[in-house]
């Protein structure tokens, strides 16, 4: 039965969009926590923390996101665990975000002048106080625009979840195309929705970057 694209399909797309936003939101939230841990390990003077963190970053940066998704998705099956597509996808994207945010923030932590750490050390601040009150607040400022930039990549990257059968925005679009045979219209709308999600964030990232450049003297 071929039907014409209509209001019901728009609702379906809205529903798909909701899942796209959900994956991105969960992965981003998880990635903030995981990324902070990765970044702190990666910048640690202790080799047993630094080396594994480096390895995690290299593996996630050196392999396609789709493969990471496959490995987590099918990995659960091999382990005999029956987890939902949603859980597998959410975990895979969280790991991915942790590694990438970890690497972004490592650079930002290292961009804070060495004199700041030395001053904190000379004042006898503990490692945690130094990070919490001196280094991370300054690294955070530097990191804002690239972090938001990564969120844009993440939102677009969630489209790969469609390949393992998770019904987010793209997958919803495919299903509608199968029923309506109006691929150009449907994918046009899907693209517009992605653009509507990402463009404001990109603009925001640009603004943060300009503000940061202005703040540096």
């Amino acid at each position: 039965m071929v039907r014409t694209f209509g209001a019901d399909d728009m609702l379906l797309l809205a529903y798909g969009t909701q899942w796209t936003v959900m994956i991105a939101a969960v992965a981003f939230a998880g990635g903030i926590v995981g990324g902070l841990i990765v970044a702190l390990c990666r910048t640690s003077p202790l080799a047993w923390l630094r080396v594994p963190a480096t390895l995690v970053i290299e593996v996630f940066q050196g392999t396609p996101l789709l493969m990471q998704l496959f490995l987590v998705y099918f990995g659960f099956a091999i382990l005999g665990l029956n987890v939902s597509a949603w859980s597998a996808v959410a975990l895979a994207f969280t790991l991915h975000a942790s590694a990438f945010l970890g690497e972004i923030w490592r650079g930002c932590i290292e961009a804070v002048p060495k004199g700041q750490s030395e001053a904190a050390f000379a004042l006898s601040l503990s490692y945690w106080s130094k990070m919490r009150y001196v280094v991370l607040p300054q690294a955070l400022r530097i990191s804002l625009s690239s972090t938001v930039g990564f969120l844009v990549q993440l939102i677009k990257g969630t489209s790969l979840a469609s390949i393992v059968g998770f019904t987010e925005l793209i997958r919803t679009g495919q299903l509608i195309v199968n029923a309506t045979y109006q691929p150009f219209l449907v994918y046009g709308i899907v693209g517009a929705i992605y653009f509507g999600l990402c463009w404001p964030l990109s603009l925001y990232a640009d603004r943060l970057e300009t503000r940061l450049a202005g703040a540096r003297r």
Partner: protein
């Protein structure tokens, strides 16, 4: 290099220098060797810093003078010898080492104030987080020292809003808020415009008058003459000469010292 020093305290005499050396040793370096890779930065360095003593360390760039005082609070690890502060050998028991390090304040060439905090917050952070001082008390102490360095009216400003000389005075106040027994100065006036050097030196002279134990790396020989009990000259990682200022300037013993003084004075 030749700032006029109008010191409110009389320059220490040779007798003062001998008297201060009879006091207890606050910090000492014994046969310290330090390498940066293959570069031998400190060669068998021995120094005693007595309570109340004021030492000026000078020498050409790369002579190891900054490295020496950075080793004193463990900013740089050493490869041989030992550094003892208040009877604790640094780097052995880290807990004890960190406890005595609290009694050492440091002022850097580049100030290293925390740019995202106000002047007042800069001064309150360490006392609250390290010594566990209550916020109100930390603020009171901070304001007291900011007044002493004559910058209390800028307490709510951020470091970037201050001149270099003002920032360095804040850095001094920030270190003093930890109530240190020993203050280390690593070329505190080298990054300053000439017209700001004096206000920082005046602050350091005030501190000397308060009886603070100080180890100062500087090229300001006027400051050395005005307050130092002892001047140490370093070259190529070695302590070449160590003498009371009068003898050091009037009658340097070593050729290298003479050459250095001829260049700098």
């Amino acid at each position: 290099m030749s700032v006029e020093i109008a010191s409110p305290i009389p320059p220490p005499t040779a007798e003062d220098a001998r008297a201060v050396e009879r006091r207890a040793v606050l910090a000492s370096m014994r046969h310290v060797d330090k390498y940066f890779g293959t570069f031998h930065a400190l060669k068998d360095v021995n120094v005693d810093i007595h309570a109340g003593e004021r030492i000026v360390i000078c020498g050409p760039s790369g002579s190891g003078k900054s490295t020496l005082i950075r080793c004193l609070n463990m900013l740089e690890p050493i490869q041989k010898g030992e550094i003892v502060v208040e009877g604790v050998k640094l780097g052995v028991d880290m807990k004890r080492s960190n406890e005595v390090r609290r009694d050492i304040g440091m002022v850097f060439q580049q100030f290293n104030l925390f740019p995202h905090m106000t002047v007042l917050q800069n001064c309150m952070l360490a006392p609250m987080k390290v010594r566990g001082v209550a916020r109100e008390d930390a603020q009171k102490t901070a304001m007291t020292y900011l007044e002493r360095v004559r910058i209390a009216n800028q307490a709510e400003k951020y470091p970037a809003q201050l001149s270099g000389g003002q920032q360095q005075r804040v850095a001094i106040a920030r270190a003093l808020c930890m109530n240190p027994k020993l203050m280390l100065f690593d070329e505190p006036t080298s990054a300053l415009d000439p017209e700001m050097v004096k206000e920082v030196l005046d602050t350091m002279i005030w501190l000397a008058g308060e009886g603070m134990t100080m180890a100062v790396v500087t090229h300001e020989m006027g400051f050395a003459k005005a307050v130092a009990h002892r001047v140490i000259f370093m070259d190529q990682g070695e302590i070449v000469e160590s003498a009371v200022p009068e003898a050091f300037f009037a009658n340097p013993q070593h050729e290298r010292t003479k050459a250095f003084l001829a260049q700098i004075l």
